[in-house]
Symmetry: C2
Subunit: 411 residues, 2 copies
């Protein structure tokens, strides 16, 4: 019989826009023994996780809990629970993940309209607001931070307009949650999906979501108690069309995440341990301090890259602090550079998608990966790799420029 | 600010039908650092996991990989990828999880018909075969092991009949995979879903599935490359109706789990480590040896329970080896017994659902939890707890009876 070796991953410096390195405290949390799903000790951990999520989302929403799946499972859970066939969804697209919102909404039976912005820019909020005034959709679905382009869409004015026009605003904050402010209540966002494997620095496999009473009310009309658990009185509330997914039915998930504890799935125990520990770390650092840290390392990274002679991609006014996109210099094989970084230096950076494939590298400074050691290590290794590829850059300047930033800020 | 304590779960002996205790090797695997999703070291681990799953499923199927979600995510992925609106699905129900198959199939737009068997029994295969001969459905969906009742449905004859009649047979083997034989190819099962947190003894959060070319062919007609990744040539194959879920679209997941590595979700890194390590442990023990171990501890447990004076629930001819259902004696508060076991002895057993709520206890002997220490510990604790509840049982006999079984078999 074929045998398989002991797990022994090589050491990696992960500077992609996710998944990123995980705090050893989170890794250790996953190695604790299992508790039963209805063990009071476990349900207490679930409740604490909900509390911490509210803080991280800057919300008073009651509903803040993870979906057991990767980030896009959270997006699909929200959209499939909200969208009834014939509902209209407007998606302003400025990168790959806008297309994903269209894709998911269409599969939920929505009539989708889109606005498109050139990749590397975001929308003037006025343009989106004008569109929803003209044709108010049931839902406006929008990406907060587009890791495919490194751009971040301002949401505050859009949230205000949606509330006035009674449009539900669903926001994909997968890449931004925990790295920059996602002010759910202040910005009047109705439903927001975060990611674990990005700025929260937890392994992929859970998708924290939050939503307000406007969303809960719409979902409540579609509530259907699961067959096999149903009693005679149940289902009297069902006035909307039943949600087309059982796994992503937020009305059922609510019963599981509330004192009723009505059985649905078996909560992913070890991932819940990881999420709880990751959120504890975020709160111990402090949200504002964490956002400042992401800005600081971005400054150092950008200083180093530009001093080296590289150009950044995208409109700097809407740049995400945790993703930096670099134009691949002319005639350089971007994949060869990435391979050399990985295999010689143990550093991973990312390529991009669609129109940007082969055009840019994407460097992430997210969560636990967002630290001085990583930024300096990357700049030195990238310089050496580009020299090895005969790229005419300015040697010796990048790491110095980053050190200047760090030393200035340490004063 | 509120602070949250260090994670510190109490020691538990988990004798439920899942989630169960996890081998420390699996827990340790989850504590290894993250690899990027397209790192060749990680994709090699993905491929090894596929190979091992094929062995555990007794199949030559190419497709054998996990869905990133809890067990029911695997069921929904298979059903939603297969079912087109108007397809007919027959579900023979003999417990709660049959109802779940109905629930999911209906949400996928299927026309569902059911057969119902009293809880505690299974179907005579001839009855199901007669039904599919009379009205061949597109899909027959069936539970292999019903943890809600502790019964296991024989599948071999049904598989043969489905193949003859060109019916697709989808089997929920969540509770049985890794604890008793699930002979996918020999029994002619077209798609099978396993669970991690039961006999594989891996934390909840992944759902291993396998399916054959018949299923792959049906899914291929519905293939749609994701927006934002799509090139001009794509989607020419789409002749069926697009799958109503993006997250559970097996045609897209196949591209992620093949050398194309077309980006879909970000594979749940730590859970994949866990699954790989758990499967390694299963293969090191040997499948047949593992099944024998489950039978051995079942014999000891049943001997102990019956000597104590308790009666088992369900038809013994179709009893699952890894779940033992006990009738709660008259006038005994089943929940009070469970609470005492948990809070005084640190042992968890389960209650049941629907018509069996308050009527039976369910004791699991699954995977890593299925061991002599646990069985003896449980029997002693249950005896003491029942005495404490003034239940007229025969004291002193249960542990002795189990020891007899173990000593006989050790000879």
């Amino acid at each position: 019989m074929k045998t398989y070796k002991d797990l022994s991953p090589s050491p990696r410096t992960i500077m992609t826009p996710g998944p990123v390195e995980v705090d050893p405290r989170v890794l250790r949390a996953m190695s604790f023994p299992i508790l039963g799903q209805f063990d009071p000790e476990f349900t207490a951990l679930m409740n604490e996780t909900m509390e911490m999520l509210r803080t991280v989302f800057y919300t008073e929403n009651h509903w803040a809990y993870p979906i057991d799946g990767t980030s896009r499972s959270g997006i699909e859970a929200v959209l499939t629970s909200l969208i009834e066939p014939g509902d209209t969804v407007l998606v302003p697209i400025y990168g790959r993940f806008g297309h994903l919102l269209v894709e998911i909404s269409e599969r939920c039976g929505a009539e989708v309209t889109t606005l498109e912005q050139e990749w590397g820019k975001v929308f003037d909020p006025a343009q989106i607001i004008q569109q929803i005034r003209k044709h108010p959709p049931t839902i406006l679905a929008l990406v907060h931070g587009e890791t495919s382009t490194g751009c971040m869409q301002p949401l505050e004015e859009i949230g205000k307009a949606c509330r006035e026009l009674d449009v539900l605003l669903v926001v994909d904050a997968v890449a931004t949650l925990g790295g920059t402010k996602v002010a759910v209540d202040e910005w009047q966002l109705d439903a927001v999906i975060g990611g674990t494997q990005k700025c929260l620095s937890i392994p992929s496999g859970m998708a924290p979501i939050t939503y307000n009473q406007r969303v809960a009310d719409k979902i409540a009309k579609r509530k259907k108690v699961e067959r096999g658990l149903r009693t005679a009185e149940a289902d009297t509330a069902l006035t909307g069309r039943a949600i087309q997914s059982n796994y992503f039915d937020l009305s059922q998930l609510q019963d599981y995440w509330s004192p009723v504890r009505l059985n649905h799935h078996t909560e992913a125990t070890s991932m819940l341990y990881a999420l709880r520990e990751g959120l504890r770390i975020v709160l111990e650092e402090g949200l504002e301090a964490r956002f400042q840290r992401h800005k600081r390392h971005e400054r150092a990274l950008v200083a180093g890259l530009t001093q080296m002679g590289l150009s950044l991609f995208g409109d700097p006014h809407c740049k995400m602090p945790m993703v930096t996109c670099v134009l691949i210099p002319d005639k350089v094989d971007g994949e060869s550079v990435r391979q050399m970084l990985l295999h010689q230096f143990g550093i991973e950076i990312a390529s991009s998608f669609g129109p940007l494939q082969g055009k840019i590298w994407r460097i992430g400074t997210m969560g636990y990966s967002c630290n001085q050691k990583n930024v300096l290590h990357l700049l030195g290794a990238l310089e050496a790799t580009l020299l090895r590829h005969q790229v005419p850059i300015h040697p010796g300047l990048a790491v110095q420029a980053a050190l200047d930033v760090y030393e200035q800020e340490q004063r």
